[in-house]
Amino acid sequence: MMMKNTQMSGPKNAVMLSRRRPGSSGVEPFLFNTFNTLFMIFLVIVTLYPFLNTIVVSFNAGNDTIRGGIYLWPRQFTMQNYNAVFASGTIYNAFLISVARTVLSTLLNIFLTTMLAYTLSRREYVFRKPITTIFVLTMYFNAGLIPNYFLMKDLHLINNFLVYVLPSMISAFNLIVIRTYIGTIPESLVESSRIDGAGDFKIFWRIIFPLCKPVLATIALFVAVGAWNSWFDAFLYTSSRQELSTLQYELMKLLSSSVNANSNPSVANGVGAEHATQVTPISIRAAVTVVASVPILMVYPFMQKYFVVGLNVGSVKE
């Protein structure tokens, strides 16, 4: 699927681009391109640095990092920080749980949100306005910690894997973004299918859904990143079942325990920490960040394909 798309998009894009910018000659485009390139180089440096620095710190000995002055190369290379991250063995299972919840959430969100967005994009739909309003408002209030806990408890979602997925199947923000996008799709496409006798579900599934690829790639990324990074649900709802713990929550525990070990008078004073630990919160935090973010970072480059495919409406007609 992806392969096929790449092959198709390559030449098509080339054509599009060349058509778009014919004969870029003269001083003006040169100036613009130079400025643009310089600006992008600046941007790359500025945004790459913090991440690079985090990676470097994660490979540097903790009690050396504490002196500061670690920038782009480790001063005392070590794997200790990673050893500490992988020490307890609970994170392998947590990784699988995180992958499962992310995949499931993304699929459900994409399908349900787009389906709902389609109905809300239909101007003739009688419930369009109330449903839109009801969803939009959810962005601006929160019932609070304890009432939400009761809800999950009553729905038997405490210590249940589904608590990672069910409460967040549709996000109002994504819904509106998709609805807005669908709004830019020419109405004629829907009309012509309707004349062919297609019902709304069929129109949604056959026409709209495929046309939404660029925005769905975006939303998929948002949902996946959100699901991957969330830890609060694990903290509130599943923390007493170790086998349901997620990667983010395990890493958080690890991080806070290293902060604790370094700031707890009773520990420093007495048992267990006779000598200094060689890992420090700063170095653990760096290693944790790398372990937590690298898997999800892989997603974006795949999504990017869909951004540049270009919705060439003329070619959709089949």
Binding site: L17, R19, F32, N36, M40, L43, V44, T47, Y49, P50, F51, T54, M115, L116, T119, R122, R123, Y125, V126, F127, T133, V136, M139, Y140, F141, N142, A143, G144, L145, I146, N148, L166, M169, I170, F173, I176, V177, T180, Y181, I185, E191, R194, G199, D200, F201, V215, A217, T218, V225, R285, A286, T289, S293, Y300, Y306, F307, V309, G310, L311, G314
Partner: protein, 321 residues
């Protein structure tokens, strides 16, 4: 009947909106739309609206160990605590200021970056820049503020640079002057989120019909004219909708950055509503105050949202509702 039957085929959308009346015929005609949306409506009501009974907490001295009927009702006590605190107005000002700064900076930088990225011809370079620019989004605020604090230190890179350029001759104490604080927070947000915020505009740009660019070329439009007349209008709907939604979040200036970068010397500029509520609410086991703060924010949010939506309607722009 005849008229209703045509409703499903939107020949003239403008006209229909006025004609919307709930009849069985319409329901039958739109049954697929209903099947596709009403169960999800029920879903959101259960998961988002039902627990709102919890807002009653704001009017109680809520004790988690007691049942609903055993709680002490205290009326507006917690709202009073919130609104009459000496610091409240200052905290509100800080929240609004930082959130407006974030809003303006966030929108303009993301849109400009999206436009510039869109002008890059080499696909590989474009993707590389995109991918790298969104990396800081994945760093936690504690790491980002750590780097910000180091860079802004008296021997940090910012002061070094300014000194070398002879723009200053004394290091600036960025984090001990209240007047810089909002700017530092705004800049940190841009740095962390600009690449991420760009993604949504890039997706919107992908939907622009290339024929429009061709037409512009034929008209002899230059690059800036195409940006202004084709690209920007092409993503306008997205911009407007995102803007309306963000205006609803006007009291969401966050707390992490301010908490991590703030200190006693700048507290008059750094403390936000969220920090205030955290300090006297959750941290004191006072869930009632936390709820009261939440209600206040929701009321303001929804008012602002409706106002923004109304304004958009008046201006004839894309609307949220």
């Amino acid at each position: 009947m005849e008229e209703i039957a045509t409703v499903a085929k939107p020949v003239n959308p403008k006209k229909q909106r006025n004609n919307k009346r709930l009849t069985w015929a319409i329901i039958k005609d739109q049954r697929q739309l209903i099947y596709m949306s009403v169960p999800l409506l029920a879903y959101i009501i259960v998961f988002a609206y039902l627990p709102v009974w919890g807002w009653t907490m704001a009017f109680q001295d809520y004790k988690p160990a007691r049942s609903f009927s055993q709680q002490d009702w205290v009326g507006f006590k917690h709202f009073q605590f919130l609104f009459t605190d000496d610091n409240f107005l200052r905290v509100l000002r800080n929240t609004l200021a930082m959130s407006v700064i974030n809003l303006i900076l966030g929108f303009t930088t993301a849109i400009v970056l999206a436009l510039l990225l869109n002008e890059i011809k080499k696909m590989f370079w474009k993707r590389t820049v995109q991918t790298i620019s969104y990396l800081p989004h994945f760093l936690s605020w504690i790491i980002v503020t750590g780097i910000v604090a180091t860079s802004l230190a008296s021997d940090g890179i910012i002061n070094d640079l300014l000194m070398k350029l002879h723009l200053i001759d004394q290091p600036i104490m960025w984090l001990s002057e209240g007047k810089y604080f909002w700017g530092v927070v705004g800049a940190s947000h841009v740095w962390k989120e600009v690449g991420w915020n760009t993604i949504i505009y890039l997706a919107a740009m992908a939907s622009i019909d290339p024929a429009l660019y061709e037409a512009a070329d034929i008209d002899g439009a230059n690059r800036y004219q195409k940006m202004w007349n084709v690209t920007l209008p092409g993503i306008k709907a997205t911009i407007v909708i995102l803007l309306i939604m963000s205006i609803g979040h006007i009291l969401e200036a966050g707390f992490e950055v301010q908490y991590l970068l703030g200190n006693g010397l700048v507290v008059d500029w750094s403390e936000t509503i969220d920090i205030f509520v955290l300090k006297y609410g959750i941290a004191q086991g006072n869930y009632s105050l936390a709820t009261a703060g939440g209600i206040f924010k929701s009321v303001v949010s929804i008012t602002m949202l409706l106002f923004a939506n109304w304004t958009a309607k008046r201006l004839g722009e894309e609307r949220l509702l």
